[in-house]
């Protein structure tokens, strides 16, 4: 018996030494490689079809469009060096740079944009984000299949370096649209030759600062510097995007030096890094709200809705979530044009109780059984429980809470919205139109059943208003209707980004659209 244990011991020691040996062949970080984690394999790198954050993170680094964002998230020239807008705001002419080439050396032309836009709208592409271009004349009809003729769409290459875009109505936010990846140019010959496989590394042709070198599915994506990039050459040689789904695993990899940035931090890790010089907290254009179904009792009475909103002390949310969330009563988030911190119903228990009394429920007596719904997620649950407690303490009403799996929840919201429900909204582009159009009467994302023609009119008027001051006034009025007069929703807070970045990463631009633009980053080995 003793012999067996002696053998086992020797085997153990040998394997230990072996472990040290095989681990030693891995070289430490090479210079100028930036490594970050992504939460899944990108569903697609086809920018007509991508809709998710992971794909966008990669596409934005291998492609560029007519315009790009500056540090204040305002559109500035990229492939288009300048543009003209007609007086009525319905026609845009983009003048393209003539020195832009694709990774295979072919010159980029305005026709590549025309093709990409029409492909996005083509019903056969079945692109989810086709609606981004619905402001373009004829776009919606073509996507709907009302006409089979792509030439009815108001986008046209006048020559190799001039792109004309006609809108169906003036849209003051329109310059944000060509900054979004679905409008990036595309090579007709490449897409048609390789069909569904055109985004594979051996086929894909791009024009951004980096190019796709290798795609190990669900494991790792390698981007390398694009030598043919038209603008200043990026400083990084390579980018490694590692697929790591589990947030805690990403923390392990960050702490063992295998990735350079942590972008999704579990609450405990945030606590741990809070006072660290490498920690970054930045507002994120994503609002979190509870909506009412205003057709359902007891919320068909605006006084009840007001009472519920007044009863909430918004300060509690960052306290429970601990991620630097910003409490708000208004809907357009800070960091975006049109943010009005004073709009919305603030914390006022006395007023809330009076309103509830006026509505026929003095001290909460006789308040009907009501359920608040949310989708199953830990943070949502904590907030729902907190709200339940707040309404009990301040209004003496008992609200039941119930959670549903995400897709079941969405179905319920679209078919029969519950009296009280949680939702969020992240900006597609940093303009108040994107946040407020959501609650117009015909919006597919308005689950409140609330319809207000005066609100609608304000939003549409603001969209065609080119004067910024006047626009801001219109949006303020609209927010007051939505949040103070009719109280269709109660905004609770705006989410924030929590990053930890290794000190050797320099030049990172953290922005409230959560875009990871890597062309200006470099690695400084000394720090």
């Amino acid at each position: 018996m003793k012999k067996i244990f002696r053998v086992a011991f020797v085997v153990f020691i040998i394997s230990f030494v072996f472990l040290i040996f095989i681990n030693k062949d891995k070289k430490p970080t090479q210079q100028n490689i930036f490594r970050f984690s992504i939460t899944s394999d990108p569903p697609t790198l086809d920018w007509s079809k991508a809709t998710d954050h992971v794909s966008i993170d990669l596409i934005e680094n291998i492609m560029e469009g007519l315009v790009q964002y500056d540090e204040k998230l305002q559109p500035i020239p990229a492939i288009a060096q300048s543009w003209d807008v007609s007086k009525d705001g319905k026609k845009y002419i983009f003048y393209l740079r003539k020195d832009v080439t694709w990774t295979d050396g072919v010159a980029l032309t305005a026709h590549d944009f025309e093709y990409a836009w029409k492909r996005l709208l083509n019903p056969e592409t079945a692109a989810e984000y086709a609606y981004f271009l619905f402001d373009v004349e004829g776009a919606e009809d073509f996507n709907l299949g009302n006409t089979k003729d792509p030439n009815t769409v108001g986008v046209r290459a006048l020559n190799d370096s001039t792109l004309e875009v006609k809108l169906r109505a003036p849209a003051s936010y329109f310059l944000h649209i060509p900054a979004f990846m679905v409008t990036y140019p595309m090579r007709k010959d490449v897409v048609e030759k390789h069909e569904d496989h055109w985004t594979h590394p051996e086929n894909i042709i791009t024009c951004g600062p980096f190019k796709l070198k290798e795609w190990q599915h669900k494991n790792k994506i390698t981007l390398v510097k694009n030598e043919k990039y038209y603008d200043v050459q990026p400083k990084l040689e390579e980018i490694h995007a590692l697929v790591v789904k589990n947030d805690q695993t990403a923390v392990d990899l960050y702490e063992t030096g295998k990735i350079d940035i942590l972008r999704k931090m579990p609450p405990l890790t945030i606590e741990q890094y809070k006072d660290h010089p490498q920690y970054i907290n930045h507002p994120f254009l994503r609002g979190y709200y509870y909506g009412f179904n205003i057709e359902k009792k007891p919320f068909n009475d605006v006084r009840v809705r007001k009472a519920f909103a007044h009863a909430i002390d918004h300060k509690v949310f960052p306290e429970i979530l601990k991620g630097g969330q910003i409490p708000v009563t208004s809907w357009v988030p800070p960091g975006m044009l049109g943010y009005e911190p004073d709009v919305g119903l603030g914390f006022n228990v006395e007023l809330a109780q009076n309103l509830l009394k006026e509505a026929g429920y003095p001290d909460g007596k006789g308040f009907p059984k009501t359920i608040a719904f949310f989708d199953s997620r830990d943070d949502n649950k904590e907030i729902a429980e907190k709200l339940q407690q707040i309404w009990k303490e301040n209004l003496n009403v008992h609200i039941d809470i119930e959670n549903q799996e995400w897709k079941v929840y969405l179905k319920q919201l679209h078919v029969d919205p519950p009296p009280l429900f949680r939702l969020g909204w992240g900006a597609d582009f940093p303009d108040p139109d994107n946040f407020l159009r959501l609650f117009t009467s015909n919006s597919g994302n308005n689950n409140t059943r609330w319809k207000s023609s005066s609100f609608d009119q304000l939003i549409f008027k603001a969209a065609s208003e080119m004067n910024i001051q006047k626009r801001l006034e219109l949006y303020k009025k609209a927010q007051k209707i939505l949040l103070e007069e009719d109280v269709a929703i109660m905004p609770l807070f705006v989410e924030s980004l929590n990053y930890v970045v290794k000190p050797h990463v320099k030049g990172l631009w953290v922005n409230s659209m959560e875009r990871l633009i890597l062309k200006k980053i470099w690695i400084d080995q000394k720090s």
Partner: protein, 306 residues
Amino acid sequence: MVQFVIKRLFLGIVVLWVLITLTFFILRFLPGGPFDSDKKLPPQVLQNLQKKYRLDLSLEKQYFFYLKDLVFHFDLGPSFKNPDRSINEMIAVSFPISLQLGMCALLIAFLVGIPLGLLAAYHHNTKWDHIFMICAISGVSLPAFLSGSILILIFSKFLSLLPAARWDGLSYMILPALTLGLRPAAIIARLMRGSALEVMDSDYIRTARAKGLSESQVVYKHVLKNSVLPVLTLAGPLSASIITGSFIVELIFAIPGMADYFVDAVFNRDYTLIMGATIVYAFFLISANILVDVLYRFIDSRMQVT
């Protein structure tokens, strides 16, 4: 024998067909679809998508087309969430990784489990027996996310010996294979001990000893060979489940295998991906069971071929 194998194969195909049919219809009755998201699609965009994926057809027609593609072309269809890839491609990439990981784990399970169980039985009711069985019981009861995290903490964070996660070479395999193999190793050890104890009590072992065989001959020739049968029974389903991957282990070690297809695909309502993953899993489970039944007959001649 041949007749037996054919019969089992036929039964396997029937089981597979029933499973495909059930999965197909149960999935469609789940509320919510692949294209529901927090940003609701305009109706015409949704229509375009449904047309592309044949979701606009009646349910029976969809089922018929699916079965037709599967049987005649081995085509598991396109993925709803990954528009550029087919399910065949996705499984072809991820399955070998899960297989590799599973094989390593299985090897660990057998190499550790069988000797441990045998030793415990041999030293029945001594301190070794107790130590081994405490290890085995902890192994069975420790969930993978805990044992995995402990291993990462020790070997990656404190000792910096092994990578904490990912799949990039030999050294990356050790921790996940260990985590995945621990539980089956413990199960096997317990089963082995029980069965070896029973065998050691039997008359033919006493006879073997009586005729003067050495202890090692008794243990290896008689005890081991006769007590390994129940372990073999377990081996079929065990290998199928280990090889198609363990969701938790692949998740915490960020391994690009196929285990998460079962979970994520359901959340995403990626119908074809759930179907594909289920079919592959079922195929392996059924094949492993048939294989074990056949192996039985080689190992134990007492078994009747029925």
